[in-house]
Every structure is written in C-alpha cells, then in structure tokens.
Symmetry: C2
Subunit: 596 residues, 2 copies
C-alpha cells in the first residue's frame, strides 16, 4: 500500500496518476476500490463535496448484488470480527473512537444478541457510522438503541440505510484523508446542542425537547439566541412585541435595502433539535464569518428568530411571521392554552406589549426579499445522497375531516352485493387517491387517520372516519387534486349507496419561490461543487407567510433517518451544516454582485 501524504489536497488528487489516486481513495469504501475507480474517471473535482457525490453515485448506480457485497465487506459492529484479522485499520480506529472496544460485558452481550437477530433477519452485518453526525463518536447507549431500532425495519429500507451509513463513514474518512474539518458546521451543531438544554420541565424530566410559545424554556431560548447574535457580530439585536428575536447586520450603504432571513425557535412536543433553529444558526454563522473578515455588504441583513410557528400552545400558528406581514389577528389574544392562560396573559407575563404588534408589519419596498434555510423534514435528500436542495415552491394544502356512513350488518349473512360497507368505500378512495396524486410531480395526498368506530371482526363497517391531506406546488394544482378526489369520493359513495360528509379544516395557499432568489440558491449550491436538486416543500414554513408581502426562496438541508421530523430522531450532520453555511455565504456574495 502506498504511504498517504499527511494531508492530501484536491489539486494533488485531480492531477495524480490513476494508480496513485486509486491508492489514496481505494480504502475509503471498505474493501471496495471499484467505487473510487468509477468516481476517479470523473476527475477533476471542484470540491470535496463533488468527490463525495461522485462516489455515492457509483454506489447508487451499482447493481443490487454489488451493493450487498459492499455492505458485507464491513465487519460486524463489536462482533467477533473485532478480534479477527479482517478488520481494517480504519474500522478499528472508528470502533475504538466510539468506545466500542470498552464495552461492559452486559453491553457486549446485548450487542451480540442484537447483531445475531439482525444478521438472521437481513443476512448482512449491521452498519452504523459510529462517529455520528458530529464526528465525535456515538455513545454505546446510542449505538445499542440504534441497532435495536433498525433491527425492526423493512429489509429494503434497512439495506438503503446501511448504504447511507457507509457513505457517512466514507465522508469522515475523506475528511481525515484531506485533513479538512467542518469548523463552521461543528460550531452550528454545538449551538443547537446548547439551545436544546432549555425544555419544559415535564418533558425535560424525560430527556425530551419541548419549547412552546412563551414558556420559561422559550424565553430562555430567546435570551440565548439574542446573546449569540450579539456575540457573533450583529449590530442591533432586540426582542419584539410578539417575542421574535430580531437582529440586523448593517450594510455599507445606510439607505440600502435589507435581505430578510429567519426561521422559528419554538418546537413541537418531544421535538427534534434542528427544525426551525437551523435557519437561525446558519445565518448567524454566515454573519459571524463576515464580521470576522470585517466585510460589509451593499445591503443590510435582518435575521428574525420567529417566536412561534408550530401552533402547539394555542390553536393559532405562525404567530411570529404573521406579525411581520400584518396578519396577526388580535382575536388570537383571547385564545387559551390547556391551563386556561390566554395568549394576552402569557404575553403580558413575558413582558411583551401586545399593543405594539401592529407596528411590527414590514414595508415590502425596504426589502430584497426573504430567504429561509430549513431541515428538509422529508426523505428525499437523504435517499438521493444530496446534502442540499433548492425549494421551488411551498406546497399549498387542503385538509379535511371526513366521515362515510353506510350500514353496519352481519359479516356472515350479508351478501357482497347487498353491503353498504363504509370502510370499503374509503379503501376504494385510497387507491384512487394514490393514483391521482402520482399523476403529477410533487403532488401528495394522504389518508392519515382511518378508523371504524367500535369495529367488530364479524360486522360490516357501518361508519368510517378518516382525514384527507392534499398538497401541491400551486393553488391550481391543489384545487384540481382536491376536486378530483372529492368527486371520486362522491361517485364511490353514490355507487355504493353510502353517505359522505366532510369539513375543511385547513386551506393554505401555495408559495412559489421567487425565480431570482431561487436561481441564486442554485448558483450557490453549484459553486460548492454539488449537484442541484430542485424540490417543493411539502411542509409549511414561515417563508409561506412572508410570501404574502415579498419574494421568497428556501434552501433545504438533508435530514438523517429518512428525514424524520417532529421526533427526537431528527438529525443532520455538522458537515451538512457546514455546506449550508457555505451556501448561505455564497448566496450573499451572489446578491452583492447584483447590487454592487
């Protein structure tokens, strides 16, 4: 084996003879030099991110058998291979870093049992990037919990999850090889960690994160965020009348316009750590970098950490961004929480002045627009091995609560052609709904709640309650989707002689991205050497509210664990965070060029 240079550079890799390059990269993917070989044919690489993407694509495009061979080339975690000769130096180092070689006998036995169950179920060894999303190593408890969770999964999904972990292992090995770090990303990661220390007592006691509007934990978050903003170089920081933390980094021209950015710092109950907060910290890190370089841009940057987006404490949602667009309904002030505390009382107790909310409305002509960075909250980037995605539109949505009433009857004595089966009608709708949504790109339709009240094994369902959630990138598409699905429901019910009723509970307009802002996100991503992936946002975001008064465009950051969200398993890596900060900095640069 060739001796590796102490710190390889991209220039060296790009210009080295094939044999030499392969010697450097051959071990990045365990015992699978074919991956490096395929990727190296695509030299030169503009960035390390581009090299990673090229290697990941080799795996993605490989046949199933070869992917399986790659997985099986890995040693069992803390298994018998730990003491065998087949373990590579890299693997030994990684497993040691995770402290796996220091397992207690009980932990070792648990791992062995789970490994055996895993191997029996899937036929390949459990693969986990044990250095974790921050690169500093998962704890043994985390590793065991992950194995216990993943052994439950579906084989197709689990195989992909193994490949994703292999890409993550490769990513960390490349960082070592190129002696590079993700210092900005690590910092942003740590800020999330620090902010997650504030959680409401009942949840904190269970180790869960919950920060609802104006709770003590929420106010502590606002304080930490405002201090972080000040420490990182923002010129003006204050908490506004609705609880938003507002910071300005002034531009070189006092009369210049302002770029608005932000996301929310409240959470759902038992939340992940990155939802909303990532869009605050990425901007703080980018401004910190400007400040360190003593750079002023030809426009101001205004960052708003929105106080409320999730609608957890009160029925009303998007309180923070609503205030900025003049859409804060004062009737909301009399809404009460589960303890009977009105929103007005909660604001007064927190020292906020509800009278001043109307004055928070922004004047669109002062602004260049609004941009928001957010974790994807979905599986797409994770599945595609893409760290960043450019949002084309925030989907419009309609939600309905529905009920079909047929006639309950004896399951044995009621012939098939004499039934009025309420659940079978919904089943027929479900099949249509899937087909209809799949007809156009980026439409989704879901029956999330589905219940036959007091159903019995021997009774034909007389009632079925269900929900409908339909989303599309434009209002016209959403309305056509909703029209077709409801028309089909009517037809099915008429054919089956059952009744249906529904109530619309949500109707939100689509927010297409501004073409100019979106194209700058695309350029920024391309500058990092990353493939551009365009996608709609299926979830609602503060940008949707800002869209009412100014152009907007969002950037998505990949979520781990199939993009799970509103869940403690929500995660992203510090390397992806680094890329998000770099993309935001690029975005600012591109905007400067336009405004110089």
């Amino acid at each position: 084996m060739q001796t590796k240079p102490m710190a390889l550079t991209l220039e060296q890799l790009n210009s080295a003879p094939s044999d030499q390059a392969l010697a450097w990269l051959g071990g990045i993917y365990e015992h699978s030099a074919w991956i490096a070989q395929g990727a190296l044919a695509k030299r030169p690489f503009a960035s390390l991110a581009a090299l990673k993407a090229a290697m990941a694509d080799e795996v993605t495009h490989a046949p199933h058998d070869q992917q399986l061979k790659l997985i099986c080339a890995h040693p069992e975690l803390a298994g018998r291979a730990m003491v065998s000769k087949t373990l590579t130096a890299e693997s030994t180092h990684e497993q040691q870093t995770a402290g796996l070689t220091a397992c207690s006998p009980e932990e070792f036995e648990t791992l062995q049992t789970l490994n055996a169950r895993y191997k029996e179920k899937f036929g390949w060894p459990f693969i986990l990037a044990v250095r974790g999303p921050r690169g500093t190593g998962l704890s043994r408890t985390q590793i065991i919990a992950t194995l216990a969770r993943r052994v439950q999964g579906h084989p197709d999904f689990e195989m992909q999850e193994c490949l994703r972990n292999i890409h993550r292992i490769a990513e960390i090995r490349l960082k070592d090889l190129f002696a590079c770090n993700s210092a900005l990303g690590d910092e942003v990661w740590d800020w999330h960690q620090s902010l997650a220390q504030y959680s409401e007592p009942d949840y904190a006691a269970r180790g869960e994160l919950t920060v609802t509007y104006l709770s003590q934990a929420h106010q502590a978050c606002a304080k930490e965020i405002s201090e972080r903003m000040q420490a990182c170089g923002f010129d003006e920081v204050h908490i506004d009348a609705v609880g938003n933390v507002v910071a300005r980094y002034l531009g070189s021209n006092p009369d210049g316009k302002t770029l608005l950015s932000g996301s929310h710092y409240d959470t759902v109950r038992n939340a992940g750590r990155y939802d909303g907060r990532l869009g605050i910290f990425v901007v703080i890190a980018a401004v910190q970098a400007l400040k360190r370089r003593q750079t002023r841009l030809p426009f101001h940057i205004e960052l708003v950490a929105f106080a409320e987006e999730e609608g957890q404490r009160y029925p009303a949602t998007f309180l923070g961004s609503s205030a900025l667009v003049g859409d804060f309904d004062t009737a909301w002030l009399s809404q009460t929480d589960a303890d009977g505390v009105s929103m007005l009382q909660a604001m007064q107790r927190a020292g906020l002045d509800p009278q001043a909310i109307a004055g928070l409305q922004r004047k669109p002509s002062d602004y260049l627009g609004f941009v928001e960075v957010h974790i994807e909250q979905g599986p797409v980037l994770n599945e595609m091995n893409r760290p960043l995605g450019v949002v084309t539109s925030i989907n419009g949505s309609v939600r309905l609560q529905c009920e079909v009433t047929g006639m309950a009857s004896h399951a044995g004595t009621t012939p098939m052609n004499r039934r009025r089966d309420a659940a079978a009608a919904v089943a027929e709708l479900s099949v249509y709904l899937e087909q209809r949504a799949a007809q156009e790109a980026n439409l989704v339709a879901t029956i999330g709640q589905w219940q036959v009240p007091n159903g019995s094994i021997n009774v034909v369902p007389g009632r079925c309650l269900f929900s409908l959630d339909m989303r599309a990138p434009s209002d016209a598409q959403r309305d056509a989707l909703s029209h077709d699905i409801l028309q089909r429901l009517r037809d099915i019910c008429s054919e089956r002689g059952v009744r249906c009723e529904w109530e619309e509970t949500v109707r939100a307009a689509a927010a297409p991205s501004d073409a100019g802002l979106q194209s700058r996100w695309e350029q920024a991503v391309a500058e990092l050497g990353l493939p551009i992936h365009r996608m709609p946002s299926g979830a609602g975001h503060d940008a949707m509210k800002l869209h009412q008064i100014m152009p907007q465009a969002m950037l998505f950051v990949r979520g781990e664990n199939a993009g799970i969200s509103h869940n403690p398993l929500e995660s992203t890596t510090s390397d992806d965070m680094q890329l998000a900060v770099e993309a935001f900095s690029e975005f600012l640069q591109l905007l400067c060029t336009d405004h110089l």
Copy 2:
C-alpha cells in the same frame, strides 16, 4: 265502490270475474290498483301467501317512478292529511288503531318536525306499517323512535324500507279482507314476548335482553320453556347435565327413529328476542297442533332447547350442541367468567352434574337427522319479500387478526413514490377482497376492524391493524378464498415494501345441508304456495355441530329491519312465524309419507 263480502275466500277470488276481483283487491295497495291488476293475471292462487308474493313481485318489477308514486300515494303519518279528505278508510282505521289520533301535543309536534325533516331529505312521506309485526299496533313511542331512526338512513335503502312497509300494510289488509288470522303465529310471538321478561339485572334495568349461560335469567328461561313443552303436549321433558331443555313427543312405533330439532335459548348482550328461540317455539307449536289432533307420527320428535350457543359468558361456544355430539371439552370447565366464576362452579350452583355431560352424546343410528328453524340474521329474505328460505349449507369460516407495518412519515414531505403507507396497503387488499368474494356465489369476506393507531392528519400511516373474516359454503371454497386473499396481501406488502403479520383465531368447517332433508324443506315451502328460495347460512348455528354426527338441514325465517341481528331491533312478524309453523308441520307430514 263494490261492497266487500264479509269474508272473502280464495276460491271466490280465483273464480270471480276480473272486474269483481279487482274491486276486492284494488285498495289493498293504497290508490294503486295496478298492482292488484297485474297480480290477478296470475290467478289461481294456491294460498294467501302466494297472492301476497304475486302482488309484492308486481311492485318489485315496476319501474322506479311507479314505485315512488306508490309511496307518495300514502298519507303522511299523523300529518296534516289526518284531517284532510285524502285519507282512505283503511288508513284512518290503521292510524287510529295505532293510537296516533290520540297523540299528546308534544308527541304531535315531534312527529311533525320529524315528518318535515324526512320529507325534506327524501321527498316522499314516511311510511310505516303502524299495526306492527304482531298486528296489534305499535305504541306512539315506538312509532316516533322508528321515524327518528329511519330519517337517518340512505335514500336508496329508505325507499326500499317504505316499500317493505307497504307490503306489510297490504298483508294486514288482506288478512282483514279474507277474515283470516295467524293464530299459531300469534301464539309463538307471545311466547317470545313472555320469555323475554327474563333478563340479567343490569340489562333489565335498561330494558335490554341479556341471557347468558346459567345466569338466574337463564335458569328462569329453562323453567318456562320446560313448562311450555309440557303444557303443549310433549311426553317427556327434562333439563340435562349441560342445561339443555330436552323434550320428546313419542311416535306411534316405540322402536321408531327420532327426528331431532332445536335451537338455543341463551342470547348475546342487548339481544333481539328471536335469535335461537324461534327454532324452539316453532317446534313446540307444531307438536301442540299434533297433540290437539291426537296425532302420533311413525317417528319420535326430540326437541332440544340448547343452553348455550353464543359464547358470551365463557370463551367456549356451542356448549349445548357440543354435548350432544360428544365434543364437550372438559377443559372448558375451568374457564372463568368476568367475575372469576368457573364454568364448573356455575354448573354446580345451577344444580347440574358435569360428570354426566359425557353421557349426553347421541347415537346417530337412533336419528333421522337434525332440523333447525332460525331467523335469517341477514337481509336477503327481507329484501326479496320472501318469508321463508331453505338453507343449502352453513358456511365454513376463517377469521384472522392482521397487522401491516410500514413507516410513519410526514404527509407533506414524503413523495408518493417513497411511502410505506400501511393503511394504503390494507385499502388495496380491501378492493381485491371485494372482487374476489364476488367472483363466486355465496362467498363473503369482510374487513370489520380497521384502525391506524395514533393516526394524525399529517402523518403517513406507519401501522394498520385490521381483521379478516372469510366464509364460504364449502371448506374448499373457503380455503381457496383465504389462500387468494392472503397471497394478495403478501404481494401487496412486497410491492409496497411493508410487512404483514396475522394470527388465525377461528377456523370452522362448512356444513352442507343433507340433500334429502333439504328437499323436504323445499317441498314444505312449495306446499304453502311460496316460491322456494335457497340460500347458504353465513352465520354459525347449532346445526353446524350436529352436522358432525348426523344429516341436517335448516329453514330460515325472514327478519325485519334489513335482517338486523344481535340487536333489539331484530324482529319478524307473527304471520311469518305462522308460515314457519306450517312449514314445519308440512315437513313432518312429508317425513311421515316416507316412513309409513
């Protein structure tokens, strides 16, 4: 209008000139002489039942518009028409009999409000045969409750329900016209009424009927049944070791064989009055008629009122008939009820001797076979306007509890092609299951329980629990049905990348009717002038157990209210009961001819 004779005879009707016959029957269906006209073309009629069937068929085969006109020809119940000139003498008489002209102001207002809602929803007046199933008139409370219930229904169903009530009104008018009665049917009806006085205290307090194995109410029922058997002329009556009430009506030849009949007297919770008991009382009435005529048959009749069939108090079911076929598992004796009382204790407290159960097993060679009369518990005879149905087979069944596990994910951010929607998989199965069951006559398959645990409107279902109930007239058909449905479930789950698991909870063999006994039921029905309708039994019955050791065949009696069962709305008319008694007597006669 022609003057009616005091009591028309069928001979007179069959031989009268058309004009005269039409004058007699023209008013049987309100303002709709076309029905009589059509039916009279089919003279001569063998029985009043045949005439009724012919008239009902005229309505069934009429176009929808004409059916609607027939409905609209009826006055509104207790409505403004009550004081108008449009009410026929018959209608006035019927509504007076029901006491509707003596409504309190509150009752009248309730009726008016419901009538208005009904008329607005359906566009036709509410039709109810106010003289009720016994012909003696419904109470005002019953009438108002029926209107309040039926106003909830589906228009298609409600229109048919109106037509069925019109047929019932016609049936009662014909009885008046022919001055005939259903004295045997009325008596059988009243026996049910009397037996329904015994109910367990908690249920009795709510006016509900519940008689589970060996409760006080159950023992009171056994006593009343045994007294009724003795009073009606059975020669030997006793309560056996399992609680069955066993009676014998001896034949003319002491060495002759025995015809076994019977059904159960226990009930489900909040039961109807006719399930099981009808098959006891019909035989008692037939034997009473024999005894009154001092007739002895060339075979003995053994009637068993089975103590337990419904499996309500203990997990085991068919306790009564199991004992007769040597299938009573002594392990059941240690099963406990909700209060911890074992079956053994319950039997001892009731003075029964569990040791003697084994001795109850019958010797097949002593018997001609087993016949059972039972209320249909389904909608078929009710919809077809047929009072009796001949059973071809008791369907075999399989029941499963199933679970599909997919992956819960965000309904907005998970593209359609990346979902592992557990409920959508079950929906696809539901559509297939309906198609598969409909491919062959008399198969049924049902998903009765259907639940997405903790479903949210914005979460793709990660789990779906459901039940499967599949039944068929033969075991081979049942197994093919079950095989195809489970194979489709496997395929769907494999295509969708979700997992499925199931547990079989019930597997019961089919019990095809004995050809000889079935053909005698058919002849008996035909002798009454009724069309023969053959049908399988979708529900299980004691005959299914007796099938293990001797030939069996069942007769079904039409249920009102779409054949609803295990519900206080379960009902049949005293006229249908009369026909059942007549059919059973005919059946005995046919068997005599064979054995003389």
